[in-house]
């Protein structure tokens, strides 16, 4: 494939400004079975997160007498991309992402309150279009809160980087594939701590600093949407938990 033009007249291929996020919709409490859940629709990404716990730690030798064990699992559905049919289950990439996502949440979950238990965080990418790990972290944080698990902060994440020589935020699949650098960051918004930080490609020190600034600005907005999604569920009467996807509805 030939590299498409990513910046046209100072705007990006989808018409966004360099510091503009794609439309983000967050819905909390969409599953009945899970203790907590959330759906994040971020551009064309659709990521579902479900949380169980604190529950009995199995196998028992994994349990800690000091804190709950946090487990994370990020996977992609075989039908999630515009490309060929994928393999089900985790691969090397998803194992790595699951690990760094777990480490981010270990920082904020008050796990000392639940010794000898485990907390499971499952993230399923149902549709992918660049930035799925950030959407997954954003969904998982809301699902953890929906499960009533105490946390120091509601983590959110966004990717920044460089496309066609310019620093920008929140890359689509094409921008990710053909850009010069991609840098996903997860942030605890209350104290600004960086809890996940990955990067590939090439950036100067100045570009890296400008990209980080952009990430902090974007994270404030994502943070607001997360809080609003939780308020929509817990302010007012109890709501039914179910997913809304698709464009044609039939029922009997």
């Amino acid at each position: 494939m030939e590299k498409p033009q990513l910046i046209i007249d100072g705007k990006r291929a989808d018409g966004r400004a360099l510091d503009e996020l794609r439309p983000i919709k967050i819905t909390a409490h969409v599953l009945n079975g899970a203790d907590g859940s959330a759906l994040v629709e971020w551009g064309n990404n659709k990521v579902l997160a479900g949380v169980y716990g604190p529950r009995e730690c199995i196998p028992r030798h994994d349990a800690s007498p000091y804190r709950a064990v946090v487990r994370c699992r990020y996977t992609m559905a075989p039908f999630c991309s515009l490309e060929e049919h994928g393999r089900s289950g985790p691969n090397r990439r998803s194992h790595e992402l699951s690990k760094v996502i777990r480490e981010a949440f270990e920082n904020v979950v008050i796990s000392e309150a639940y010794p000898r238990t485990q907390i499971d965080v499952y993230m399923e990418v149902l549709q992918s279009d660049g930035g799925t790990r950030c959407a997954a972290i954003t969904a998982a944080a809301v699902a953890l809160a929906d499960a009533g698990i105490p946390m120091k902060d509601l983590v959110c994440a966004v990717a920044v980087g460089k496309i066609d020589g310019l620093v920008a935020v929140d890359f689509s699949k094409d921008e990710d594939n053909y850009g010069e650098s991609d840098m996903p960051i997860a942030i605890a918004p209350r104290n600004g701590d960086v809890l996940l930080f990955q990067m590939d490609g090439n950036l100067t020190r100045e570009e890296l600093s400008a990209a980080m600034e952009m990430a902090y600005k974007a994270s404030a907005k994502i943070s607001e949407l997360q809080a609003a999604a939780l308020k929509a569920v817990y302010d007012g009467p109890k709501k039914e938990a179910h997913l809304v996807l698709g464009d044609k509805f039939n029922s009997q």
């Binding site: 079975g33 659709k46 579902l48 997160a49 399923e124 997913l243 464009d247 509805f249 039939n250 009997q252």
Partner: protein, 257 residues
Amino acid sequence: MEIVNELKKDSLKRILAQGKRADGRQMLDYRKATLQQNAIPNAEGSALCHLGNTQVLAGIKFDVATPFADRPTEGVLSTNAELVPLASSTFEPGPPSPASIELARVVDRGIRSSNCIDLKSFALEEGKVLALYIDLYVLDYDGNLFDAASLAAMSALLCTRMPKIEEGKLIRKESTGKLPLSTKTVTCTFAKVDSTKLLDPSLDEEQGMDGRITIATTPQHVCAVQKGGWGAFTQKDILELVDISFDKAKGLRSILQ
């Protein structure tokens, strides 16, 4: 957990003895079924099925593949079910469980045996055919995965776009129209508790049931059956449930468009 199941079984039998179901349904009532098509626009076809509190997502993908040696001119149909761990505290990550394999194979048989998809039309050139993948993603488990997954799969097939094919390669962004389907398969699953038969069992009912039977039909034929659980069905039971399946399938077929 054993004790919880025993208690649930006792309460299920107590309620059924009064001629009622815990959620207020009659014995042969379905829960509310809703289908949302094009849930995943990236897939060639997709649908989300709500059956009460059960939620199953089906995604359809096409690829170019090598045909099976014994059917060199037929396309490949492959069905896989994933009991996604976020759907239930009893689903664990790892290799496919016997339950997920059974689910995929029963849904597959219903669709395959009805011949609703003309696999012969999937031949491309010598040694190359189209493969159609049906992936069933169980997202929320409150019983009767067989019917929910079948409805999701059939609904997804009904909105599946055929990709354009050029020189043996798929151009997924362009479509040559909808996947042609000659009929619609509908399954009805019954639970048997003592001598009572219940249509569309909820999770509580499944946990207390003795046996289960799934009957897939087209308007003309029975096209797949699967009996599960240790409980037995009589010959009379089976014929009676086949009649009920043909009747109940009409209502379900009306939401498959």
